[in-house]
């Protein structure tokens, strides 16, 4: 195919896929009249950061007049606590999932067990479980043990959700490191844990970072577990963003401001680990 045509089609494809993101960002900085304008205003609109101020309280000294009373900027759409909830849960669940999966994956890679294929198949099968099928029983279990509506409860369930990915992916990274390294060190009298912690983990650090980023993103974007396993105590961003849809109308600009703020860190993270992205998306099965 013609090289110029290929370039044009390639950039056209990228533009088509990027367009909804661009449009969403513009909604977050538009005023209401421009949001609802038809034909849509893609470039020629007035910029307003009001939505961000309401959602994040950037300007704490901004006061808005509301039914005659003056109150600090923010109000019903103040989402800073939810952003904090999301960060706590994503970091906590990533840490927990990584801790467990690195130990398990190292062992699966280095000390084969009987029925290893079946065990791996079992791990993969847990990746298939529909979240609803896990969340409904978990609702009752959490109610009984008091984890309902707590950060710890969501951290545990998100770590569990990410374990199949983390284990399979980390095993593929450990498999890339020659086993001779372990064996030579073990012959020299080093202990298993020393070999693991001092030799293998530093060599796999790139893979560990990539796995952690994916775990973080999947926790950050998860919806149905948080929806079912929380009530009023906490809400992560994907769940709370549905609360902008009310019976009196939808606060599109606020919703878009929150959505934009939620996706930009994820964009930066994913571009940092792009080299390992395909391996991560295929649970370690397709290497780049």
């Amino acid at each position: 195919m013609n090289k110029v045509l290929k370039q044009v089609l390639g950039w056209f494809t990228a533009a088509v896929f990027f367009f909804p993101i661009y449009f969403w960002i513009t909604v977050s900085i538009k005023k209401d009249k421009d949001i609802f304008a038809l034909p849509p205003k893609l470039f020629n609109f007035d910029i307003s950061l009001e939505a961000y101020e309401e959602v994040f309280g950037i300007s704490r000294f901004l006061y808005v007049e509301d039914m005659g009373a003056v109150r600090p900027g923010g109000g019903d759409f103040y989402m800073m606590p939810n952003l904090v909830d999301s960060i706590i849960i994503a970091l906590g669940s990533t840490g927990l999932a990584m801790l467990i999966s690195i130990l398990g994956a190292y062992s699966l890679s280095r000390i084969p067990i009987r029925g290893q294929q079946h065990f791996m198949g079992w791990i993969l099968s847990t990746r298939m479980m529909p979240p609803v099928a896990v969340a409904i029983p978990m609702f009752f279990i959490y109610k009984n043990i008091g984890l309902m509506d707590t950060h710890l409860g969501i951290i545990i369930i998100h770590a569990l959700m990410n374990l199949p990915l983390a284990v399979l992916l980390m095993k593929s990274f450990f498999d890339d490191i020659p086993k001779d390294i372990d064996e030579a060190a073990l012959l020299d009298g080093a202990s298993r844990f020393y070999v693991f912690w001092r030799l293998i983990v530093p060599l796999a650090i790139g893979g560990i970072a990539a796995t952690a980023v994916l775990c973080f993103i999947f926790s950050w974007t998860e919806f149905i577990f948080v929806l079912i396993l929380t009530q009023t105590g906490l809400k992560t961003i994907p769940v709370v963003s549905t609360s902008f849809v009310t019976s009196t109308g939808t606060a599109w600009d606020n919703m878009a401001a929150l959505g934009t703020a939620a996706i930009i860190p994820a964009f930066i993270f994913i571009l940092l680990v792009q080299r390992h992205l395909v391996r991560g998306l295929t649970l370690g099965s397709v290497k780049q």
């Binding site: 290929k6 390639g10 494809t13 896929f17 909804p20 993101i21 609802f36 034909p39 849509p40 801790l99 467990i100 130990l103 398990g104 699966l108 000390i111 067990i113 198949g121 993969l124 099968s125 298939m128 479980m129 529909p130 979240p131 609803v132 099928a133 409904i136 029983p137 279990i141 770590a159 569990l160 374990l163 009298g189 080093a190 202990s191 298993r192 844990f193 020393y194 001092r198 974007t221 919806f223 149905i224 929806l227 079912i228 994907p238 769940v239 963003s241 549905t242 849809v245 939808t250 959505g259 996706i263 994913i270 571009l271 792009q274 395909v278 998306l281 370690g284 397709v286 290497k287 780049q288």
Partner: protein, 298 residues
């Protein structure tokens, strides 16, 4: 430094050359995640909350009998199957086309690939929101575009129309996850050896022949993995319908997961668990059969 001493934990537990201590945390978590919910689901599917007695009571096979006679259940099964297969086919074909297009070392294609990764990290609920405003009946960009091109009538809507609503939902999935296929297939294409393609060129093979006889067979493993993972996630999807249509209009966009969730919120806990258990069993059987027959290995 004497390694053995300084890194031994009490009892030398984790120093063990046996794999049990290494795997124990993982096995514990997987039992909690996979085994307990599975059996609890089975337990729930034989019980139901009875409002008059305010208790979860044993009801025998009632939930399962209800399942197979419930029209809404059959409808949601049909929607789940249609959604999974249509999206999978479209994403695979579209993804393959785009992958072939951008599999190039020319300047610029790296940036194009980077742009395509961006849709993958958007929370699906927020992706749903993006399309909720674009498919809005009054001021939605896509609705307006379709009307201007005369593809739908002036009074028509997308998400409130029983025949179009599901496609409105599928559009989000296709937008967000076609790049998933693209990136995996590009990685597959890039890893192919160049010699067979060069000799095919010398032999004067046509591009389509090269694609069918060389590219496709050599990519079959990569395609199988992509189809498996995408298929699982399509079957489990609930975020998009939740945000865009909540199953409506009527019950026309209920998927199994959404219907299970909806029954659960109506305090039909046993029936909700029965629907989700059904969905779980189907994907376990189909997924493992696929792994077996497509010879996917981890």
């Amino acid at each position: 430094m004497d390694s053995k001493k300084s890194y031994s934990l009490p009892g030398g537990f984790i120093n063990s050359d046996s794999s049990l201590p290494w795997l124990l945390p993982l096995i514990t978590m997987l039992v909690v995640f996979a085994i307990i919910p599975f059996f609890y689901n089975i337990y729930l599917s034989f019980h139901e909350f009875v409002p008059a007695k305010r208790a979860l009571l044993f009801v025998g096979w009632d939930n399962w009998i209800r399942l197979f006679t419930d029209e809404v259940f059959w409808g949601s099964l049909k929607v789940s199957l249609y959604y999974t297969f249509m999206c999978l086919a479209i994403q695979l074909v579209l993804g393959m086309g785009i992958a072939l297009l951008i599999d190039s070392d020319d300047p610029g294609f790296g940036i194009i690939r980077s742009i395509l990764t961006l849709t993958l990290v958007i929370p699906p609920a927020i992706a749903g929101m993006i399309f909720l405003i674009m498919e809005d009946a009054n001021y939605g960009l896509i609705t307006w575009g379709l009307k201007s091109m005369g593809l739908i009538g002036q009074e028509d809507t997308i998400l409130a129309d029983p025949t179009l609503a599901l496609w409105g939902v599928m559009l989000v999935d296709i937008w967000q996850w076609t790049p998933f296929m693209v990136l995996i297939l590009v990685a597959g294409l890039r890893s192919l050896p160049s010699e067979p393609f060069e000799s095919a060129m010398i032999d004067g093979a046509r591009p389509f022949q090269v694609f069918r006889r060389l590219t496709l067979p050599m990519l079959h493993k990569v395609i199988a993995v992509a189809v498996l993972i995408r298929g699982i996630d399509l079957w489990r999807m609930v975020d998009y319908v939740f945000v865009l249509t909540s199953g409506g209009p009527g019950t026309s966009t209920y998927t199994l997961s959404l219907y299970a969730w909806q029954r659960f919120t109506f305090v039909q806990w046993g029936y909700g668990a029965t629907i989700s258990l059904f969905s779980l069993i189907v994907i376990l059987i189909v997924g493992n059969a696929f792994i077996h027959f497509a010879k996917v290995k981890w």
